[in-house]
Symmetry: C2
Subunit: 140 residues, 2 copies
């Protein structure tokens, strides 16, 4: 758990909003439990051959009425350990997520990425995503 | 049910992907049942004083680890009956959704809207959303 939160915190935007001190905040543990109990949520980690966690992402399956009652797969919190960037791991993770979304019968795989992350936008475009939509947010 | 699907279909983008013929497709009925059974999903309709359905939207609550284990509220499939547009109903629905998201403890309310819907982008900006993110989609 600490390893996942460390990756979320070790990020340009994440460092201002996460808290990776030990012991880990109860709110992270509660969130982990909620995700675990929900059959529509899949939180993944990637380990290297030594069993160290080097990547994480969360895939959610959301049932809508639109598209004749279709399911969407939504990707969030994709993070790769700083020592593992530019190794092709992100590409492998995205390929896995795409295959998993198809397997679950989703008609679209979607995500939003902050416009400040221009590298990320280019990466996702290379993986087959298109910037067709505005990703609009309102902090409450 | 037919009334909701009619609104989804009566839309520039929706008309190419929905099927509102009667009897309604089983896939819509199954989707409705799945949404109904999921405590993290809320499908809303608005009725006028005569009991006619004049608006619909779907609000999903998604648990993430990010933001110290925060919950996001996500809005999708916002539709208003063609006879009720420009009456302020959309504004009322958005205010309701914002209040509901706060009540459920969400730290952000988010949505994606097709860049072709320039009126919608302006409307959501007026309601307090910002276009901070790219909404990226890959059809599977």
């Amino acid at each position: 758990m600490k390893h996942i939160v460390d990756m979320l915190a070790d990020d340009t935007l994440g460092r201002t909003r996460e808290d990776s001190r030990f012991p880990i905040l109860v709110s992270y543990m509660d969130a982990f439990e909620n995700i675990n109990l929900d059959p529509n949520q899949e939180l993944m980690v990637v380990e290297n051959i030594k069993g160290e966690i080097i990547g994480t992402m969360q895939l959610s399956f959301i049932q809508y009425l639109t598209y004749q009652g279709g399911i969407r797969a939504q990707l969030e919190a994709v993070r790769i350990h700083k020592n593992q960037r530019r190794t092709g791991l992100g590409t492998e993770m995205l390929k896995w997520a795409t295959a998993r979304a198809k397997e679950k019968g989703a008609h679209v795989l979607q995500l939003t990425t902050n416009k400040k992350r221009s590298d990320a936008v280019r990466f996702y475009e290379k993986m087959g995503f298109s910037c067709s939509h505005e990703g609009m947010k309102m902090h409450l």
